[in-house]
């Protein structure tokens, strides 16, 4: 699944994870830490939606 930041359009791809922030490939969006922020614009998980 992919999740897109509603503010800036950055995409979190569960398959890829986000190794730059220590998030392993395969990490489900729901398992991202609660304080996960969009790396481009800084908004929280509540402002992502399924792509």
């Amino acid at each position: 699944m992919k999740y897109v930041c509603e503010v800036c359009g950055w995409v979190y791809d569960e398959e890829q994870g986000y190794p730059e922030a220590g998030i392993a490939p395969g990490t489900k969006f729901e398992d991202l830490p609660e304080d996960f922020e969009c790396p481009l614009c800084g908004v929280g998980k509540d402002q992502f939606s399924e792509e």
């Binding site: 509603e6 503010v7 800036c8 922020e37 481009l40 614009c41 800084g42 908004v43 929280g44 402002q47």
Partner: protein
């Protein structure tokens, strides 16, 4: 100017500027605000536009009375606030920049220096003590840039709110806060309602004696309460007033005549009506009216089998800013193949919670009995 005993205003008024951000006419200019907190340690809150760096440093020197500042807190990196950072850092070699992690790469990108040896990176919840004044930092991403932080002075109960609660107009002009604050909000911050709501949730837990924005006056007492009320309303996309904006884009004046006829019909029924000529007005005025009132009528001519360009631009301004939760009527004009209503309808499809009224009024070149009847029916539907 004293904000409190220890907090001084050292900002500047800009009456030279014609277009703010290259887009918004500012006939009364604008202020670039900066503040100083005097304590055992001294913090300066934000720099100013490049044209006013020397005047700003003069005001700072006068307030410092021989002392030197310890910190420059950078809440926001738009150049109207950040372009004089280097001037300050050269004048005060011991000073440290306090900002979010996202601010420093921007500093590098805009001005070629990210002060790797002279910086303190802060995030939500961090506290910096100046002595008696303890400053806590609030992350405010996308209000209206990603690096934005706000600072709360726990002792004086003052919030430094970056561009939030800002307005157009220099400080030496007298006007009602809401008018130009509304145009500023919907023009510049309007897209980011959800992010403003997040910040309001955090600040609602704070005792506030004053809000110090980066543009416009310091807000205190009733003005502060009213500003918080309006920001909550605006950022949740709720209409502020009952009324109808009729925005028209006319080629020869016949679409305008239809708009004016509708305005007369509505005013006869006691409705508040605002007309905006999109070919000529400051579009940001029309945008703020569209968000301010609960109903909007878009009246446009057909042009090149499309909608007349000023209307297309207006709708783009609305949809870019998350326009929603309103009732909309449409008037189109076309001499052989009216297309404007179809195009306007299509452009509005991305808006949430929009009610499109029937009938859509079609004017064939100029008003006639048939289109006058349709206008009367639209007026009834708008009531």
């Amino acid at each position: 100017m004293h904000v409190t005993n220890d907090i001084r205003y050292i900002g500047v008024d800009d009456h030279q500027i014609d277009l703010f951000e290259g887009l918004y006419p500012v006939p009364d200019g604008i202020s670039y605000n900066s503040y100083v907190i005097l304590d055992e340690k001294i913090a300066v809150m934000d720099a100013v536009d490049t044209h006013f760096g020397a005047a700003w440093l003069d005001s700072l020197r006068a307030v410092l009375d021989g002392r030197t500042p310890d910190y420059l807190i950078v809440h926001h990196m738009e150049p109207d606030h950040s372009a004089s950072i280097a001037l300050f850092m050269d004048a005060y070699p011991e000073a440290v920049i306090v900002a979010s992690a996202k601010a420093f790469p921007m500093m590098k990108a805009f001005f070629g220096n990210e002060y790797a040896e002279r910086r303190m990176i802060v995030k939500e919840g961090d506290v910096l003590s100046l002595g008696r004044h303890r400053l806590s930092f609030i992350a405010a991403p996308m209000v209206h840039w990603p690096e934005v932080i706000m600072t709360y002075d726990q002792l004086d109960q003052v919030l430094f709110s970056a561009d939030g609660f800002g307005k157009f107009g220099a400080l030496d002009t007298e006007d009602e806060w809401a008018c130009e604050a509304r145009r500023y909000y919907f023009g510049i911050v309007g897209k980011y309602g959800a992010q403003v709501q997040s910040v309001l949730k955090k600040t609602s837990a704070l005792e506030l004696r004053a809000i110090c924005p980066l543009h416009g006056p310091v807000l205190k007492e009733e003005q502060l309460t009213e500003a918080l009320r309006l920001y909550d309303l605006w950022s949740s996309y709720q209409p502020e007033s009952k009324g109808v904006l009729i925005a028209h884009a006319s080629v020869y004046g016949n679409t305008r005549a239809a708009a004016e006829e509708l305005a007369r019909l509505l005013e006869e029924k006691g409705e508040k009506v605002v007309l905006q000529d999109l070919n000529r007005c400051d579009i940001a005025e029309a945008v703020e009216d569209a968000f301010r009132y609960d109903r909007v009528v878009l009246a446009a001519a057909t042009y090149n089998a499309d909608v007349f360009p000023p209307m297309r631009q207006f709708i783009t301004w609305l949809t870019e800013r998350g326009y929603r939760n309103r009732t909309i009527g449409l008037i189109e004009n076309g001499s052989w193949a009216p297309m404007a209503a179809k195009v306007m309808n299509g452009l509005l499809q991305s808006c949430k919670d929009i009610t499109l009224l029937e009938p859509v009024v079609t004017v064939r070149s100029a008003l006639n009995d048939e289109s006058r009847q349709a206008l009367a029916a639209l007026a009834e539907a708008l009531l």
